[in-house]
Symmetry: C2
Subunit: 332 residues, 2 copies
DNA sequence: CTGTTAGCGCCTTCAT
DNA sequence: ATGAAGGCGCTAACAG
């Protein structure tokens, strides 16, 4: 067993060429004589050479690393975004270095600093809430930055997502057209979830435009979950029994609402309308498919990578809107 | 705006000290005079210096990177493992570089090569199915390797997880004690999911030990999902109507089974027992909580990091069993 | 407590 | 088509 890992120099010596020739062959740069290439490749095999990208990046001042910052792994939407990022990334030979902020801006700043220290080729960040220092670091880094999920604010570089305010507004319009008038809202803690707040605002605005307002709301202080949705609807029905439709902060919550109805013998739609957000599989697999708004998280991840890897041209759009789609479903 | 990023040399010049002094201060190495430190720190601030870890790692022959390889982000269990890894990791100042194989061993080999090129401090890999070349690279790399999720095979270095064979066996024993005799199995494609197969084997073994065998099975050819579980149970009931309990390959599938029952007016447990695996929140939030086996994916991630960061001592265990727990629930 | 001297392994530039 | 020299930014190993 060799004690120190083989280097370019070792390969070069074995193949009887210079380091740079080996380097070129391994990177497919410049013209190489076929037999030289063969000789070198077999030397690489023979000693089991693994290139050292740390050295390579230092010398060439550029890495194949991409920084990725997300607030959470618990909320299913972020793994979905990550999936899009991963797939798009490894088609282009980049590797993601992932950091999870747990919705903490100070932590985000620290993580960002660590990521930047690796000189990533670009940075993908979910959300728009950053400390001033984070923003400054990002701007000074000189690399492309994509902010994901929402497009309701001015991005540092580019933004990829959808307008959650408009999604909330569309929810209100749709349900009003369905004939609902006495709206209830079941939500979770907003501190962490700026986008849920934007949807709420959009909903309220749609109601106001129709001369309506929320008849009741039940907002928990934890993060969203099926349990929180169950409890939330139970509380809403207690405090505001007259409500004819419940809008949930997202599908997890809404599925909980459906379960509450099942347990209480309430028939969704006939007795009470239920509406979610996200379009998760679980909602569509329910005995009665959930009425909701579908967004394409996977696509957000993919598009972010694709746009950020394309050098910015002057005419490139700074905001990429993936849109959303109302799923009529059977619960509202 | 400076065109090239500030370096240690710039900070040193500004503070009137040598590079190494700045380096030491930034890494809290060795004794430093308080006023020197102060001078240097303000120089760092002044020019907005961000350390370059690429250079640092090359010089010190060691990175704070940790390779992480998982098969999928779609199956909720892997984000949960990732969460454990992330939390444990950033308490120790390491950064994960994540790769997703999509259950493809050849792709895993490629990704492994790329990860190894960054000279990570250690490697965490979900699963035991690797190409020979992957195994060789891992062994030759000289770094610690943790294989996650299952412990039913011989690890390269250490394994963290639970015995899925034993979990399947426990499922069988438990349900037999509950009085069930006519077992049905509803599963998904095993090609990707070796662990589901191990649970199946354990189940069959428990049945055999009691003089029983599967009365029917319905195995889909896609990955697990709520929809697949719904359809699977529908098919099972058609082909084997006499079955008195359905064991599902996991909770997603079992929740689908519960939905099928709801839609068909079948009462879980009274009419038909339903049993899952994983202990997901969604199962426990159902109107009737799902009977299942709970495993702690988060803990698997955490423990993997903790064990792998502790230098191997001779007496350190190579297999870390996080165990599992039967959740009686209300569906079996 | 601080500095000097040498690289780490590779790639860029300029030759040949 | 190939090579030689030099340096990327930082840190280990010794001084002093």
């Amino acid at each position: 067993m060799r004690k120190t890992a083989p280097t370019l120099a070792n390969v070069a010596a074995l193949a009887g060429v210079s380091q740079i020739t080996v380097s070129r062959i391994l990177r497919n740069k410049g013209p190489i004589a076929p037999d030289t290439r063969a000789r070198v490749m077999s030397a690489v095999q023979a000693i089991g050479y693994v290139p050292n990208r740390v050295a390579g990046s230092l010398a060439s001042a550029g890495s194949n690393l991409m920084g990725v910052v997300i607030p959470s792994l618990s909320n299913i939407v972020f793994p979905e975004v990550l999936r899009g990022i991963h797939e798009a990334l490894d088609e282009s030979g980049f590797q993601p270095v992932v950091a999870v902020t747990d919705y903490d801006m100070a932590r985000e700043e620290t993580l960002l600093r660590s990521l930047l220290a690796w000189k990533p080729a670009a940075m993908i960040i979910a959300g728009f809430d950053h400390t001033d220092e984070s923003r400054r670091m990002l701007e000074n880094s000189g690399i492309r930055v994509a902010e994901l999920m929402d497009i309701d604010a001015e991005p540092i570089d580019i933004a990829v997502g959808l307008s959650h305010r408009r999604a909330g507004h569309a929810t209100g319009r749709h349900l009003i057209e369905c004939g609902y008038r006495r709206f209830g809202y079941v939500g979770h803690d907003w501190a962490a979830d700026r986008r849920a707040r934007l949807r709420y605002d959009g909903l309220c605005q749609a109601l106001a435009e129709a001369g309506l307002s929320l008849a009741g709301e039940s907002v928990g202080d934890g993060s969203s979950s099926v349990f929180a949705g169950r409890d939330g609807l139970a509380r809403l029905r207690q405090s505001s029994p007259a409500v004819d439709v419940a809008v949930f902060s997202n599908d997890d919550m809404a599925v909980g609402g459906v379960f509450h109805c099942m347990a209480e013998g309430i028939v969704p739609k006939a007795d009470l309308g239920l509406f979610g957000f996200n379009g998760l599989e679980i909602g569509q697999a329910l005995p009665v498919p959930l009425s909701t708004i579908r967004s394409d998280r996977y696509r957000i991840g993919r598009l972010a990578v694709e746009h950020i890897l394309n050098p910015a041209r002057g005419d490139a759009p700074r905001i990429i809107d993936v849109g959303f789609e109302i799923v009529a479903g059977g619960t509202a």
